[in-house]
Symmetry: C2
DNA sequence: CTAAACTTTCAGAAAATACTGAAATTACGA
DNA sequence: TCGTAATTTCAGTATTTTCTGAAAGTTTAG
């Protein structure tokens, strides 16, 4: 696996961005390498291409598996494992977002939920409790919305995104035309 | 600023989550403290409440300012600066997302853009170039959509999120009724 | 202008995170 | 089942990130 300078630069860039995306440099570089490779690569291929240790590759592969971003391919009569990206770019992005939601949102939501449940009329200042409720409600809204979006067909989701805020206009109009539907929450400012 | 155990726990939680949200523990704790406080706090108040050094507070305040998450309040006849959260929870969340987009998406998008512009018919493998194009298109779509959403009124945006994937149904229906609008991209799978 | 009150900076220390490589373990073909 | 090829683990090391506290800088009342 000889890399051109340009591909190499792109892989290095993904390595540098990795920590901002929730994983470490090696994981980022390896994901890029596998996404850009048109054939599955062995762990040794990866270690050689990126000049990192075999042990590091093994740990990073585990991490990538746990994010469901790669899968293993086995060649009959060959003991080696070969690895490749687990789906299209769109699917990988969905997977990353889902995993990040799980790590970045869910723990806080559950902490807020239990806090707001248990403490009834505490010695906690009213303003603090109110702010916690706001954060809770925002995260809950986000969570439901996100789950819903994840279940939409990619093509529908893409079309919806392309429509952008235009969707608001369409819904307002629809609402005016059909005031008995559940969309009536729109336009109440 | 004496903290109750429960408030304290919540602040510690925000500190632990901070690194996943793009800042460090002190910044996370301080943001939580200021969000939950019903009055502006001085740098010394903060250092005392959180048991961290004055220097650390100063650096974290700079960071919070750069994210536009706090603002400074000055009391006439008092030399101290006092700090408070810069808006509602919703506004703070928007601000965090905007800043994260800037740090997590924009650099990669511009790198991909220049790569795809300059290299015409390179020695770069076709599959790699194709994948880069896919990532580029996805990030561009996301960026436009995100900008659009940011310009919507919070109440409209909340209503839209509450509607969830229901919006797809509404649009499909609207589309069937009004096939000449630009929403016709919906439903082509 | 001076001095006290407050804030910022930054070198070094501490803590957290990532990486290496050799040893242990596992998986496979014969 | 055995031997070997491959993978995983993890203790030790290296690197990166964060934090401290003292010194330098800034602001303001008098």
């Amino acid at each position: 696996m000889k890399l051109t300078t340009e591909l190499e630069n792109m892989i290095l860039h993904f390595g540098e961005m990795a920590s901002r995306w929730g994983f470490n440099r090696s994981v980022g570089q390896m994901l890029a390498l596998l996404v850009f490779s048109d054939e599955p690569l062995s762990a040794d291929d990866i270690a050689t291409s990126l000049s990192i240790s075999r042990g590091n590759v093994s740990m990073a592969l585990k991490e990538l598996h746990s994010w469901r971003l790669i899968r293993t391919h086995r060649e009959p009569g060959d003991r080696k494992d070969y690895f490749l990206a687990n789906g299209t770019i769109w699917e990988l992005a969905q997977q990353v977002l889902a995993e990040r939601k799980k790590r970045e949102v869910d723990p806080t939501l559950s902490m807020l939920r239990s806090q707001l449940m248990t403490s009834e009329q505490d010695d906690m200042p009213g303003h603090a409790r109110q702010q916690m409720q706001e954060i809770h409600d925002l995260l809950e809204l986000f969570n439901h919305w996100f789950d819903d979006m994840q279940h939409m067909k990619p093509e529908h989701l893409k079309a919806l995104m392309r429509l952008g805020s235009g969707v608001g206009k369409v819904l307002e109009m629809t609402d005016r035309l059909r005031p008995k539907t559940k969309m009536k929450a729109i336009g109440n400012d």
